[in-house]
Amino acid sequence: MLEIRNLHAAIGGNEILKGINLTVRKGEIHAIMGPNGSGKSTLAKVLAGHPQYEVTAGEVIYEGKNLLELSPDERAREGVFMAFQYPIEVPGVSNAQFLRLAYNEKRKHLGEEELDPLEFKDLLKERAKVVDMDASFMTRSVNEGFSGGEKKRNEILQMAVLEPKLAVLDETDSGLDIDALRVVAGGVNQLLTPDNAIIVVTHYQRLLNYIVPDYVHVLAGGRIAREGGKELALELESKGYDWITNPNVAGSANLNAAS
């Protein structure tokens, strides 16, 4: 589904990604881990097409297409979804209005008929169960006045409505207490099917107790420094990132300490 080859990307002339290779197939969950500044959020944003990042080398093939040639909205309509680390507020635009517009854009792209507000309301009500959000959230402005946890749940609600083929979750666990983490992770698990794939970007192993990855990739200095199965995340937790970035002082940091 997704093939990243030798991907280099820079922001403001500063190279962050220095040759990423990654293959994601349908039905898989991949975790991207790494210390702060290793480039994991950059990878997520480059996949989504953030305008501030410049791809300086390499290619990304998604469903047989050159993903890097598509605008952010085209990528989204093709089924690429990114859950934002810091979801953006859109004052005066209701969640329902926003979601219906986004949903109908996708339907139009697929040559399907658009849903009217009433039809969409039913669909939204159904999908909202995934993250246990009540109706009052639908009439409120997008993310405005939402708590950190509500914003993250709202991201997963959008994912539930848009049913992406490839979902990239950028630090979806940051700022969540344990109950909210369970709800969000539970929502993501409900949305996984044999036909889609998820890339989970996270600093901490904690989230991976709930969203269990098939593969774990550890970034350091803009490259994948180590890869393995889910046990790699556990090993990281006990040994700390220093184990990878600076093998001589391994085991000095507890990954859960900061959470």
Partner: protein
């Protein structure tokens, strides 16, 4: 798409010219011009006096060129045609006798006038250059005692009412453009809602400037008697010309005890081209007087057109407990300039006013809010809430806020909030990441920004306003 490629021009779809023979008077403005207008319109002596008084005062006044935040070349007032009317039969027994070319023009503008096609629920007075060409639903309204007709007819048929209220809110010497209008106004709309009547339909006037050489000077007077209610809509368009036309209108509203007037405008005059060539100079005086206790006047305006907008729809809150409201969206793009806002003058006890202003500037445009809240000594317990928000699109435009607050007693409260924001790249990226195109994303953000104002518009107008903002901003963010 690369960032900051600004502003492709959306075709102005109302830019066509109607080819029709006009009855025009020569250019220029003297007392003889005014006598000629009075003669053409067959007006009584008191109107001539009203006009001459205004004209003589106008001669002593100077154009307000310095305090507003706008610039434009000098207007040659002797080079304007002050009266231009499509040639047609003097008296029209029915709408079917209106020149078909005019009916076609209004139909093209989305305002069908013929009886078979009239808009349901909305009575329309259609003004073409200097004159009203048709008013729909007149008879139906009359059954409810509501008078809705052209100003010309009102002077003829309801002279006592006109005499009583004309100039009672905006005196002839109020300001330069109001004085000019009082001297030369050629037509407009008159509405009278009698005591206790809730006007059964929306009333509206549609203004169309067609002649490239003439100005439009119309007058609207709405009187709502005790306990009555009326909702009035105003729409405006003009053809594309590469020279500027002057539009200097005066609107007066009078609300007696317990009466309510809701006045909504969607202004889409031709705005000139990307370089600022052509477009309407919109210098308008609009004022309402809450003369009676518990009365309410509410202005809602969506200003998207005109090369220059200079207008401050205001409320004089004279009656105790009266309420004034001003909801405004002013959008400027390319080289447009707007200096617009309101005045809330609190005279009576416990009077309240609300001002919500949303300014959106794109291109090289300049968009200023200017507002006065004045609380007089006797206006005990008066309250005002003002919120002025500006949004900038791109980095070549400007937004300013000029609030003036004068409070002359201790028991009143005035609140003022202001904000300036930009459509951020992050906001656009977020919406695009959900599959929404960049243009739709801009439109969504702007409509969200304006929501508090759009909620005040009648349904059809709100839809029109939403669409209009989208069109005006097409391509404005890259």
């Amino acid at each position: 798409m690369s960032t900051a490629e600004l502003l492709s021009t959306q075709e102005y779809k109302y830019g066509f010219v109607t080819d029709i023979e006009s009855d025009m008077i020569p250019r220029g403005l003297t007392e003889d011009t005014i006598r000629l207008i009075v003669e053409k319109k067959n007006e009584p002596e008191w109107m001539l006096e009203f006009r001459l008084k205004a004209f003589r005062h106008w001669l002593t006044m100077t154009e307000p060129k310095h305090w507003p935040n706008i610039t434009y070349p000098d207007i040659d007032y002797q080079n304007i045609i002050y009266y231009s009317a499509p040639k047609q039969k003097a008296t029209k027994a029915s709408l079917d006798e209106v020149d078909p070319e005019l009916l076609r023009t209004f139909e093209k503008l989305g305002i069908p006038l013929t009886e078979q096609k009239q808009l349901a629920g909305v009575a329309v007075d259609a003004v073409f250059d200097s004159v009203s060409v048709a008013t729909t639903y007149k008879e139906k309204l009359k059954k409810h005692g509501v008078i809705f007709c052209s100003f010309t007819e009102a002077i003829k048929d309801y002279s006592e009412l006109v005499k009583k209220y004309l100039g009672s809110v905006v005196p002839t010497n109020d300001n330069f453009f109001a004085a000019l209008n009082s001297a030369v106004f050629s037509d407009g709309s008159f509405c009278f809602i009698p005591k206790g009547v809730r006007c059964p339909m929306e009333l509206s006037t549609y203004f169309r400037i067609n002649n490239s050489e003439s100005g439009q000077f119309e007058r609207t007077l709405i009187v709502a008697e005790e306990g009555s209610y009326v909702s009035y809509l105003e729409g405006c368009t003009a053809p594309k010309f590469d020279r500027n036309q002057l539009h200097a209108a005066v609107v007066e509203l009078v609300a007696l005890d317990d009466a309510q007037i809701k006045y909504s405008t969607v202004q889409n005059w031709y705005a000139g081209d990307e370089q600022g060539v052509g477009g309407i100079y919109n210098f308008v005086t609009k004022r309402g007087k809450c003369a009676g206790k518990n009365s309410k006047i509410s202005w809602t305006q969506v200003e998207t057109g005109s090369a220059i907008t200079w207008k401050y729809p205001s409320c004089i809150l004279q009656g105790d407990n009266s309420i004034g409201e001003f909801y405004s969206v002013a959008l400027t793009n390319h080289a447009q300039q707007a200096d617009t806002g309101t005045k809330m003058i609190h005279l009576g006890k416990n009077t309240r006013s609300t001002i919500i202003s949303k300014g959106i500037a794109a291109g090289k445009s300049n968009n200023s809010y200017r507002g006065l809240v004045k609380v007089m000594p006797k206006a005990e317990g008066a309250r005002n809430y003002t919120q002025c928000d500006s949004m900038l699109i791109g980095s070549s435009c400007g937004a300013n806020t000029f609030p003036y607050i004068e409070v002359m007693n201790d028991s009143s409260s005035v609140e003022h909030e202001a904000s300036t924001s930009k459509i951020s790249e992050e906001q656009l990226f977020y919406l695009q990441q959900r599959g929404i195109s960049q243009e739709d994303a801009v439109s969504l953000i702007i409509n969200g920004f304006c929501k508090d104002v759009f909620l005040q518009l009648p349904m059809e107008f709100a839809v029109e306003a939403t669409r209009l903002l989208g069109l005006k901003l097409e391509g404005s963010v890259g």
